[in-house]
């Protein structure tokens, strides 16, 4: 702990690099990066839960919620201002995750995994059958705007990219501070031995509830950003395979560092884009094989491949 914390500085540098990249990236690549960053946010929330020893197979619930909030407000109610959309997304995800979290914080291990999955499948079940929202096809979303300013369609992608970069790195800074705070460390303590945490006078349930809500907010924001950049939402966002994808990215990146989910998500999107082009019928097989290899040989994710520095301050 005594060593200089360089992570925060490095994150600022990385953010500047990403902002500068906006001038050089071709459209398809900035689209890909936006989606990767948005998914990285979702995975960041999932990693927060995994550090507590809980694996949620239902982050798709909030991912989809965020997407549909943006979609419904934009297309059916005519609200396209990103600031308003973001606030409503966050508030609605807090309300829902708090209510569900009251129930979920009593569960551990596979029961937690399955109950979160059940909740996201409930949302999927509702959306698939609701015809006003296009059933399984979903619907297209009105382009986003900011305080009455509607960017031209050609440059919209770039603006959303910049917006996503800003948000992602703000959340990363926040989460980095959180990980190093007493509450952040409480997660690890709960994973190691929950009963002892109770002896210390901390309520594991409250800690888990808070983490669950934070994870939900991150997932909802990720979903909202994905919806804005893709211009389309469908119930598939709440299907359990989407949540499985997030778990995959979390394992790929690892849970030891705050930036690992983002890097994991970027690598995942790159692999997926190229694998999908080269081998459309075997890219899932590649993913599955990679997953097994990671579980076998790199239980801490790709991050563990980096050389560790002598100090222990990188947590």
């Amino acid at each position: 702990m005594l060593s200089q914390d360089t992570t925060s500085r490095n994150l600022w540098i990385a953010m500047c690099a990403f902002v500068l990249l906006a001038f050089f990236l071709p459209n398809w690549l900035s689209f890909l990066t936006t989606v990767a960053l948005a998914k990285g946010l979702v995975v960041l929330g999932l990693v927060l839960l995994m550090r507590t020893g809980l694996v949620s197979f239902g982050q798709g619930l909030y991912y989809c919620l965020g997407g549909y909030v943006v979609g419904i407000l934009g297309t059916y109610l005519g609200v396209t201002d990103v600031a308003i959309l973001l606030v409503i997304t966050i508030v609605s995800s807090i309300v829902i995750s708090f209510l569900l979290g009251l129930l979920l914080c009593r569960y551990r291990e596979i029961f937690f995994a399955m109950l979160t999955m059940a909740f996201s499948m409930i949302l999927y079940g509702i959306l698939v059958k609701s015809e006003i929202f296009g059933s399984t096809d979903g619907f297209n979303i009105e382009p986003a705007s900011l305080m009455g300013w509607h960017p031209a369609i050609e440059s919209l992608g770039t603006w959303i990219y910049l917006f996503t970069v800003m948000l992602t790195f703000l959340f990363l800074q926040g989460m980095h501070r959180y990980f190093r705070s007493p509450l952040g460390f409480a997660g690890k303590a709960i994973r190691e031995n929950e009963i002892r945490v109770e002896y210390l006078g901390v309520s594991p349930k409250k800690v888990i509830l808070l983490k669950y809500v934070i994870a939900a907010v991150l997932a909802a924001v990720g979903g909202a950003l994905t919806a804005m950049v893709a211009g389309h939402v469908d119930p598939e966002m709440a299907f359990w395979t989407t949540s499985g994808e997030f778990v995959f990215i979390a394992l790929l990146g690892g849970i030891t560092h705050v930036a690992a989910p983002i890097i994991g998500a970027i690598i995942f999107e790159i692999i997926r884009t190229f694998a999908f082009d080269l081998a459309p019928y075997s890219w899932q097989m590649i993913l599955g094989g990679a997953l097994l290899l990671i579980i076998f040989f790199l239980p801490n994710g790709l991050w563990s491949l980096l050389p560790t520095r002598k100090s222990g301050g990188s947590l």
Partner: protein, 298 residues
């Protein structure tokens, strides 16, 4: 009155199908503590095997009834073979890991098998309607049901009875229950636990593939069917209590009847009902309806 009968019969048919799909999953979990996500892929493999064989066999014009034995038998065999390969090549190295890690491992297997089925059978849909139409339609108090669907109820009862008998009335069943109860003590008492594991996984896989084979004639077999099914099987198994065969039966009945009720009264709720029942049961009794809480080992 008629609607009630339709709901009941439809519910029973769907429950029977659910039971056959889910029972292998619960058996594997009960013995090995593995929540096998790849169960859906085994279902898909069974369905594809059956569908392609039905298409070929009924094309040759041989005696049609022996086709039934052929396609069901082949589905079971394909399931057993795949299950054996999964267990020997992968899972046997993973025992003793966390249950959540095992879910992730089987998730990897699922992803791989999804593409293996696509590589073997392509992405076009298969139709194997012949066995379905051969059993004709049966009238029950004026309402006609497909004979094939009704026969599923018989198959489910048969499978359930066979499992019950094997588990409770045979020596091997007793050994298996000993392993379920306490793996380490059984090992100390000289039970070959790893053999029990292989056999259980193969049987569980065969049941999954059997479910797929039986379903193939009733729908078009296309990529993705396994992914849809696994989550249903999950719901059923979780409601009854993980690892309990009787629980799977009750879970299947509950989900089946509720779904039929929804389909015939308010179809928008069809999917919601299934997961709604699951979430409700889980939030009241997380261990499921039919599992007694076990004492924590220190």
């Amino acid at each position: 009155m008629d609607t009630l009968l339709v709901i009941l019969i439809d519910g029973l048919i769907y429950s029977s199908w659910l039971f056959i799909v889910a029972v292998g999953l619960t058996l594997i979990y009960g013995v090995m503590k593995i929540l096998n996500l790849a169960h859906g892929s085994l279902y898909a493999i069974g369905a594809y095997t059956a569908a392609s064989l039905v298409g070929w066999y009924f094309g040759t014009g041989h005696f049609p009834w022996s086709g039934f034995v052929l396609f069901i038998g082949a589905a079971i065999l394909a399931g057993m073979l795949t299950g054996f390969i999964i267990e020997r090549a992968l899972l046997q190295f993973m025992y003793g890991r966390d249950e959540v890690v095992m879910i992730l491992v089987t998730y990897g297997v699922l992803l791989i098998l999804e593409d293996v089925t696509k590589l073997i059978w392509g992405v076009d849909a298969y139709f194997a309607y012949q066995p379905y139409s051969m059993l004709g339609r049966i009238k029950l108090s004026g309402i006609s049901f497909a004979g094939y669907d009704l026969s599923l109820i018989l198959v489910a009862i048969l499978v359930g009875f066979a499992l019950w008998y094997a588990l409770n009335q045979t020596r091997r069943g007793k050994l298996l229950r000993a392993v379920i109860h306490d793996r380490e003590v059984s090992l100390a008492m000289g039970i070959n636990v790893s053999k029990v594991f292989v056999v259980t996984f193969v049987i569980g896989s065969a049941l999954g593939a059997l479910a797929g084979g039986l379903t193939a004639p009733a729908l078009s077999v296309a990529p993705g069917i396994g992914i849809e099914v696994i989550i249903l099987a999950f719901a059923v198994v979780v409601i009854g209590g993980l690892g309990s065969v009787g629980g799977a039966a009750v879970g299947a009945l509950l989900v089946g009847i509720f779904r039929a009720l929804a389909v015939h009264t308010y179809p928008q709720l069809e999917l919601f009902v299934i997961y709604g029942v699951m979430a409700m049961v889980l939030s009241i009794r997380p261990q499921g309806l039919f599992v007694t809480a076990t004492a924590r080992k220190i």
